[in-house]
């Protein structure tokens, strides 16, 4: 490897600099991919929790429409977490845990602020505007501030450079900027709760004309999105360059861990699908601020008053631009998850992934196809036969690579020697759960059946199965799996099992009834959960079932959160740098990996999952062992 003496010198300086850098440089404005990864991870977890809190409040209204909310109970949860983390922080003397504790205190305060507001909760009952705004923010936060930053910004950042044998991301400063753009985007989104009229309330899809004429929160939402999009763009460029350029010697494309492949394709989706949404956001901002009417047709009458705009615009234009991003975005939510699952399954079955190559081709194909199925979200907008046939066909085609990947993962179990570790439990549960979510996508993808199911709870059930017991489970698997790499300690096993089983049943308790309600025809985004509709009556009792399951789910997150912080200092120490006996490169570094990761460029000799090779005495051969 050629490198000029000057860069060498600069590098040495920067490493030395880093060592003396102190709190701010090391933890806040770090350019080390691992620190940035952790920053992403912590922020995303807090946002996930917040998105969940909004939903817990909403679920009260859905289960008991019009009944006064016991605000104290809902504040209790973040308050308890805050107190516990603060105690842990004091015991273990970790400033950062303290910071998280304070954040949770802030969340508790925010929840308290909201539920005790007489305008938002007159007599303790959530007003419909607030319900809509919570719904929109739940969707936005979960997708753009929770799952994607955790999966891509967090795990991607931490693990990808290690797995490709790179010292860092290709552009460390860009990486830092990407995190801070995300952070600002998140703060802007949170701030929108405090503007007049509250946060955005036109759904995470922000369809105009509704979003064009909505309260100020929508403008703030759009600004927040511009930051988040910028962050994703910077991140995706970084990932692609890192994977293409910084792969270790001998690490050919077909030797990349599947996780890296998943991140690679994800990065392309982010790179090419996000800009159209950015364009759409600019156009909607213009509509809202500069009085244009890109999305406003002529002759609108809003509450009996003719709208004073030039008109001529097209509401469907927004939908095209939005779904051009948002369909690929849903694969952004799930591809990294599949990547994590692949790692965990290979490691815990102690055998190579079955059909690795076909999985790689499938994921490439999936990524490509995901750009041309977007209008399956728009079947009910008045499509003719040609366009609907096109999009139905592509939608059915795209389900095939998913089936291939899932099938390969499942067949990988056959012949294995399965260790039921906590990450493996989550990974195993992922398979049938994603199966339900994916399969329920099929009737939605066929236009005639979508007539009955579109915009009902069936859709909500469909995608929550893929994102919650799907992606979120995969993310939990990843957290338990890579935790010892980051901290040098294992998370407590018993608490992990409690977390798993509780979450597994609670998740199904929330999301399966949604499918039943959806088939009965109950619309989504209803403030009263459909209480007034005759066709909803027979399935109304399920609202309470779902809500209680959601709160139970929340309670079962407590062992996880406690475990997560407690184990940083008190968890069982790992005996080696490679506690799971894994093959991929991230485990062949010291724990935690130092700045620069590897002492020298690793040489890779084999594929990613050489477990139980009969030619080898041990049951695994790391990629860098000759």
């Amino acid at each position: 490897m050629q490198q000029s003496a000057t860069t060498e010198r600069r590098h040495v300086e920067s490493v030395r600099h880093e060592e003396h850098a102190g709190f701010w440089r090391t933890y806040v404005f770090s350019i080390d991919h691992k620190v940035i990864g952790l920053q992403y991870m912590m922020s995303a977890l807090v946002f996930l929790f917040f998105g969940f809190s909004l939903m817990m409040l909403m679920r009260w209204q859905l289960a008991y429409p019009g009944k006064s909310i016991p605000g104290e109970v809902f504040v209790l949860l973040p308050a308890v977490i805050s107190a516990a983390t603060l105690v842990i922080a004091l015991i273990s003397k970790r400033k950062l845990i303290g910071l998280v504790g304070l954040t949770f205190a802030g969340l508790a305060a925010l929840v308290w602020y909201l539920v005790s507001d007489e305008v938002l909760f007159p007599d303790g009952v959530m007003v419909p505007e607030l319900y809509n705004s919570f719904g929109a923010m739940h969707g936005t936060i979960m997708v753009f501030l929770g799952v994607v930053p955790l999966a891509v910004g967090g795990f991607g950042n931490y693990v990808v450079p290690l797995q490709v044998g790179a010292p860092d991301m290709a552009f460390p400063r860009l990486n830092m900027m990407s995190y801070w753009a995300y952070f600002i985007g998140g703060v802007v989104m949170l701030a929108s709760f405090f503007v007049p009229g509250g946060a955005a309330n036109s759904g995470w899809t922000s369809y105009p004309p509704l979003a064009d004429i909505a309260t100020t929160g929508q403008t703030v939402w759009l600004l927040g999105m511009v930051f988040l999009i910028t962050s994703s763009l910077l991140g995706s460029i970084n990932f692609i360059v890192t994977i293409v350029q910084l792969r270790a010697n001998g690490l050919t494309y077909m030797r990349l861990p599947f996780f890296v492949w998943a991140q690679f394709i994800t990065a392309f989706l982010l790179l090419l699908a996000f800009p159209p949404l950015e364009a759409a956001a600019v156009l909607q901002l213009m509509d809202r601020l500069a009085g244009t009417s890109f999305f406003l047709p002529s002759g609108l009458v809003i509450s009996g008053q003719a709208l004073e705009v030039s008109g001529g615009g097209s509401p469907l234009l927004w939908q095209h631009l939005f779904w051009f991003l948002a369909h690929p975005e849903v694969y952004v939510l799930v591809l990294p998850a599949m990547g994590i699952i692949a790692e965990v399954i290979a490691n815990n079955t102690r055998k190579p992934l079955w059909g690795y190559k076909s999985m790689v081709y499938a994921v490439i194909f999936l990524g490509f196809m995901s750009f041309i199925v977007w209008a399956h979200h728009m079947f009910m907008t008045g499509m003719g036969t040609v366009i609907s046939t096109f999009f139905q066909t592509t939608t059915m085609i795209i389900s095939i690579p998913s089936v291939i990947i899932l099938t390969a993962l499942m067949i990988s179990l056959w012949g294995g020697s399965i260790r039921f570790t906590v990450p493996m439990l989550f990974a195993l549960a992922f398979l049938p759960m994603f199966g339900i979510g994916g399969l329920t996508g099929l009737p939605l993808g066929l236009a005639p059946t979508d007539i009955h199911l579109h915009d009902t709870y069936y859709v909500i059930g469909h995608f929550h199965y893929v994102v919650a017991p799907g992606s979120i489970f995969a993310l939990f698997a990843g957290l338990y799996y890579w935790y010892p790499k980051v901290t040098g300690r294992l998370m407590n096993d018993t608490l992990g099992r409690i977390h798993f089983w509780g979450s597994f049943f609670a998740m199904n308790g929330i999301f399966f009834p949604m499918l039943i309600q959806g088939l009965a025809g109950v619309s989504r985004r209803l403030w009263d959960g459909g209480a007034e509709y005759a066709h909803a009556q027979d399935t109304l009792y399920l609202n309470e079932v779902m809500s209680i399951s959601a709160w139970v789910l929340a309670v079962f997150q407590l062992p996880f959160i406690f475990n997560f912080f407690w184990s940083i200092r008190k968890g069982k120490k790992v005996e080696s740098d490679n506690p799971w006996d894994a093959t991929t490169l991230e485990w062949q570094t010291p724990t935690p990996p130092p700045h620069g990761n590897f002492a020298m460029v690793p040489q890779v000799y084999r594929g990613p999952y050489e477990y139980s090779d009969p030619k080898s005495p041990k049951d695994y051969v790391p990629q860098n062992v000759a």
Partner: protein
């Protein structure tokens, strides 16, 4: 270990990191402006009537701007070529010219906008002006960004020439790719907005 291929090209791809990076960035920019073009086409096709740009916009000024921007592209690429020929003085001159051209472009734009505003025409006027202001405005922001980058490489950033000439040349090349792209976008904006 330190980050490889920041200066030299990776043998199997033939690219150094920032070269690949900038092309990826430009790909995303293609999708950004592509989406806006797509919106423009859709709105125009659906509109019952659409004004003829040349009738309401100032074509001579825009032509001047086209010439200025194309010239700036040439000076930009010349500044890179000068670095390749190890002629730093020439580089400064060409880069300076590029910046000046960029500024001229903006000044002309300001006059154009000013004339429209003082005539009481704002983006809310109709869809034509909405697209006109949005597209040229966003393009203008890209020009501003380019000028900032170029100015940095003309001024403080050019110190790198003394320590790491190859790396600096690469940086200028990358900045140039961006600048040419901005020029390229204008080449399409000019006829679509002003002439059709």
């Amino acid at each position: 270990m330190q980050i490889p291929y920041t200066v030299a090209a990776r043998p199997d791809t033939g690219l150094h990191n920032s070269k690949l990076g900038i092309w990826l960035f430009l790909a995303s920019e293609v999708m950004l402006f592509g989406a806006l073009f797509s919106s423009y086409i859709l709105l125009r096709v659906a509109a019952p009537e659409w004004p003829h740009g040349s009738a309401i916009l100032n074509v001579p000024l825009a032509t001047l701007n086209t010439v200025v921007l194309i010239a700036s592209s040439v000076t930009m690429v010349m500044s890179w070529a000068s670095l390749m020929l190890k002629d730093f003085t020439k580089y400064r001159r060409y880069m300076g010219l590029t910046i000046v051209c960029g500024l001229v472009f903006l000044v002309v734009k300001v006059f154009e906008y000013g004339a429209k505003f003082s005539a009481g025409t704002f983006p809310g006027e109709d869809l034509f002006f909405a697209t006109y202001f949005t597209l040229t405005g966003l393009h203008g922001l890209h020009v501003v960004g380019g000028i900032i980058v170029n100015t940095y490489f003309w001024g403080p950033g050019s110190r790198m020439w003394n320590t790491e000439p190859r790396r600096f040349t690469n940086r200028v090349e990358v900045a140039g790719l961006y600048w040419h792209f901005v020029d390229l976008v204008w080449i399409f904006l000019f006829p679509t907005l002003y002439l059709l």
